[in-house]
């Protein structure tokens, strides 16, 4: 007889186990098979003649072969199917009433082309499918098998999750009542002078025995999860909060039971029972956990709100017919209609119609954005005015909204360096407390007054109960979670927790000019006319000359002409002279538009002053006909309307604000004056920007760089904290540690304000948690005994411990009400 261990997969219930056993024992020579559902493993006792292949085949035929024994899956990676294009689809299954259905459904899913693995969880009626098959194909397969299915992402079932949380909350409250129901009367009895001592032979001994059994019942029901948790952790060489509670309450109960059963074995003064402590502690800690569940629900409110933005249904146009379908079923390439007041269902590109879309929920920008054919729209944004028809370009997890949620969730899980000490302490916390409890007990035994046994028990129990690893462990993550969520609400995506901490201690901020301080779009800001000339005439001529040009300045002139509804004239003999300007003929007349030196060289007298334009940071373009100058057009990249205010806010917070640009010094200075920055770095080539940032760092400064995230990548990478600004919903910019979806520099100031507030909150939490533990543990051990003449009650310790973690979570929740402020809008 040989014993084999084989891996299985997808066996989730006893029904599956029975099926596997049946399949295996049907093989001649297999005498016994045992399925371990948790390990997904089957142990088989078989004769030597039975081959491994036979057994694997039996398991495969029963439908529970692991992926690795599946010949298709074991094939070397080839083609897109086996690379990262594999995605998980989670289906919510309806109509499955028995474990047998599970196999049918899994088989139906596995036989769908492209499916690598399919597992159904009968407990929550979901199926997890890995492979390249689309959700629609999978749903069809399940439906053909006679069941119902719909796609569910693990994120979007917020209400279900809430219901589970609610159920957990109610259970904790029930446990609390169980614990306190027994503990409070017992404690009241003790406080009101009732006898808590066991007197051998008296009736009270039997009463205490009954109470002891009742306490055991409370420990086994309301306290069950602490004991199972502690037990499992122990076998894994781990110790956690459950360990401390189980040890504390268990020790108190055990001691009391010894007192009840063998009072004679203990000195008379030590025959005190502590059943009330066990019951009370269990009750109080359940109460603390219930409060924590409530408080925690709020910390993830920001992500919930983002998730709630997603539309539930979409109006899809297929074969000329419009129908409302669940948003999960929309596929890339589908044409969709969105009516006024409706949400955009998936990311797409407008094909018909014009409308205004409120994107504030994603970008934080309050003004609605005009959308027309060719523009991109994002899932979760709100269509305000017209009807649009758009084509889906990204669905499901690929939409910008989903990516934002994913990014926020990821950042919420990361920790700034400030939390590392707490992490290191947490990792060794529980065993250390256990050691302190033993030392404390020994100290009382060796040096304490009588009754020494009682003192040993109380001090050790109280030390175990009062120590709160939770407060310490929660201090940083809770604040990060709320802070990162808060930032997301303002259109600020923080990529890592570390950026939070660094942002809070910056002293220098370098702002790229184009697109950061300025609009990034040159515009005609003024037109100076020679005597007898009119602005519109000059603009019409200039625009007609430039109509064939691709230069950014030409675009500015053409846009301005268009906005003034000026008709253009046909130009002939167009010529663009690099670094000089353009020339062309209109109605037989030759015109030139270009820089001063070129026109002067052509013999045209420049009798006008362009200083008023350069003072505004504009580039002057001189317009002349064959003989005379007609006027000067000032083209400038206007600064954003709120840049000045935002820069003032940054400076007020003590930062040195530096503008960096490739522009010539004079026009850079002009923009710098308008923006109100402290310093200017002009004529810097894009590739040298990183060097400039480095130079500032070498001066000992902590530098933030703000840019558009594409052209400035090296400088962003060099900076201590980098901001990509105005990315809209294109959030995949990896080079920046913080992405601002809105285009306003206020976002930078807001991000820094939120970071500072979050780090302050973390510090408060860490301070509180460290102080609580480092004061609480010695007091519990009895250092105050010489002063007070008594030991801290384990019940008080239980109350303090429950409150400490609630306090941390509540303090973190205060951040939700933080307003970065300062916006003029």
């Amino acid at each position: 007889m040989i014993q084999h261990n084989l891996a299985i997969s997808g066996a989730t219930c006893q029904g599956c186990a029975r099926k596997i056993i049946k399949a295996l024992t049907a093989i001649d020579g297999v005498s016994e098979a045992e399925v371990d559902l948790e390990q997904q493993q089957v142990t088989i006792a078989a004769d030597q003649g039975v081959t491994l292949a036979q057994m694997e085949q039996a398991i495969a035929e029963a439908g529970y072969a692991p992926a690795s024994t599946d010949p298709d899956a074991a094939a070397p990676p080839s083609g897109p199917e086996s690379t990262s294009t594999h995605s998980d689809v989670t289906l919510s299954i309806t109509g499955a009433t028995c474990a047998g259905c599970v196999r049918t459904i899994e088989e139906a899913l596995r036989s769908t082309p492209g499916v690598k693995q399919a597992e159904m969880n009968f407990a929550d009626r979901t199926a997890l499918v890995t492979g390249s098959a689309t959700a629609a194909e999978l749903i069809k397969a399940v439906e053909e098998a006679g069941y119902g299915a719909s796609e569910t992402t693990l994120d979007d079932d917020g209400s279900e999750q809430e219901a589970r949380e609610q159920a957990h909350y109610r259970q904790l409250l029930k446990h609390m009542w169980l614990g306190l129901g027994l503990g409070v009367p017992l404690m009241a009895w003790g406080l009101l002078g009732g006898d808590m001592m066991v007197r051998p032979g008296e009736t009270s001994q039997w009463i205490w025995l009954a109470i002891g059994i009742a306490t055991l019942a409370v420990l086994a029901t309301a306290g069950r999860h602490f004991f199972t948790g502690a037990g499992k952790a122990f076998t894994n060489h781990n110790a956690n909060m459950d360990t401390l509670i189980a040890l504390g309450t268990g020790a108190a109960w055990l001691y009391s039971m010894v007192v009840v059963l063998m009072p004679g074995a203990l000195p008379e003064a030590a025959r005190h029972v502590y059943f009330e402590a066990s019951a009370m502690i269990i009750g109080l800690i359940n109460l603390g956990q219930a409060l924590e569940v409530r408080a925690r629900g709020k910390t993830s409110a920001a992500v919930r709100r983002l998730l709630d933005l997603g539309a539930k249904t979409a109006r899809v146009i297929r074969d000329g017919q419009e129908q409302d379908i669940p948003v999960e079923q929309v596929q890339t390439g589908d044409r969709l209609r969105v009516r006024p007041g409706e949400k955009i269902a998936v990311d797409g590109e407008v094909q018909e119609g014009e409308s205004r879309i409120d994107e504030s929920m994603l970008t934080g920008e309050p003004m609605p954005v005009e959308k027309t054919v060719g523009d991109k729209v994002s899932a979760g944004t709100l269509n305000e005015a017209g009807t649009l028809i758009y084509q889906a370009t990204a669905v499901g997890r690929d939409t910008a909204l989903s990516q934002i949620v994913a990014m926020v969730k990821k950042a919420q899980g990361s920790k700034p360096p400030i939390g590392r000490l707490a992490d290191q302490v947490s990792a060794v916390f529980v065993p250390t407390i256990m050691i302190i409890a033993v030392i404390s007990a020994l100290a009382w035994f060796n040096f304490g007054p009588d009754p020494r046994l009682t003192h040993m028990l109380i001090s050790a129990t109280t030390v175990l109960i009062i120590a709160c690893p939770c407060a310490l462990g929660l201090a940083t993550p809770m604040s990060v979670m709320v802070g990162v969520g808060k930032a997301a609400e303002h259109g600020i995506l923080i990529r890592q927790g570390e950026a939070l901490q660094t942002s809070s201690k910056l002293d220098t901020i370098v702002l790229d000019k184009t697109g950061t301080i300025t609009e990034g779009k040159p515009a005609v800001i003024d037109i100076l006319c020679a005597d007898g000339q009119h602005q519109d005439d000059l603009l019409r001529i200039a625009a007609s000359l430039e109509s064939g040009s691709e230069h950014p300045l030409a675009h500015a002139i053409l846009r301005e002409a268009e906005s003034r509804n000026l008709p253009l004239q046909e130009a002939s003999s167009f010529e663009a002279l690099n670094g000089k300007g353009v020339t062309a003929t209109l109605d037989g007349q030759r015109y030139r538009l270009g820089n001063r030196r070129w026109l002067e060289n052509e013999g045209i007298r420049i009798a006008m002053d362009s200083d008023t334009l350069t003072d505004k940071g504009a580039t002057p373009l001189f317009l002349a006909n064959d003989q005379t100058l007609l006027g000067i057009l000032g083209v400038a990249d206007r600064i954003k309307s709120d840049s000045r205010d935002a820069i003032a806010r940054l400076r007020d917070s003590g930062l040195k604000v530096i503008m960096i640009t490739g522009d010539i010094q004079a026009s850079a200075d002009a923009i710098a004056r308008q923006a109100g920055v402290d310093d200017v770095m002009a004529e810097v080539l894009p590739e040298d920007k990183a060097e400039k940032v480095k130079a500032l760092q070498q001066e000992g400064r902590t530098v933030a760089m703000v840019g558009d995230g594409i052209n400035d990548a090296p400088a962003l990478a060099q900076a201590d904290v980098s901001f990509a600004i105005g990315t809209g919903t294109d959030v995949a910019i990896e080079s920046a540690s913080i992405t601002l979806m809105g285009g306003s520099l206020h976002g930078v100031a807001d991000a820094m304000a939120i970071s500072t507030a979050t780090v302050r909150n973390i510090k408060q939490n860490l301070f509180g948690a460290f102080i609580y533990n480092s004061l609480g543990v010695p007091v519990a051990a009895g250092v105050l005994y010489p002063l007070t003449g008594s030991l801290l009650s384990p019940v008080i310790a239980g109350a303090a411990m429950s409150l400490s973690s609630v306090t941390v979570v509540t303090n973190a929740n205060r951040l939700r009400f933080f307003k970065p402020g300062g916006k003029t809008a």
Binding site: D124, L128, N236, H237, N238, N240, K410, Q412, P431
Partner: protein, 120 residues
């Protein structure tokens, strides 16, 4: 008697140090190398708590959270910049595309749940 009690206390301390710090779970028998596995999150422990993977291979971990307590709501892979929220009663899949060689801890936020990932 008093010597015995003191001795018992010292032995207890030594046992705590040995059990929780010196001897590590799975330290003696290495876990089987896996590229995909399900980890049950329940009662304060990840089961299995030791994951052994190969470099250059994507690792897919299905976390099945059965513990409703909020402690279990997040898993963080230290040193890999990966974290994921685990929905209660659901399976959440964490895919590490190409984990670099090394030993990483994965824990809950408060580090009460503890697991180890060995990539070699």
């Amino acid at each position: 008697m008093s010597i015995l009690i003191n001795l018992a206390g010292l032995i207890l301390i030594a046992l705590i140090i040995w059990w929780f710090w010196m001897s590590r779970p799975g330290g003696r028998k290495p876990a089987a190398i896996t590229s995909e596995t399900t980890i049950i999150v329940d009662d304060g422990v990840y089961d299995p708590a030791l994951i052994h993977a190969r470099t250059g291979q994507p690792l897919t971990l299905h976390f099945e959270r059965r513990d409703p307590s909020p402690c279990a709501e997040q898993v963080i892979f230290h040193g890999l910049d990966v974290s994921e929220f685990l929905d209660n009663g659901k399976v959440t899949t964490v895919t590490l595309k190409n984990p670099p060689k090394g030993e990483y801890r994965f824990t809950c936020q408060m580090q009460m749940y503890q697991g180890r990932l060995i990539v070699d």
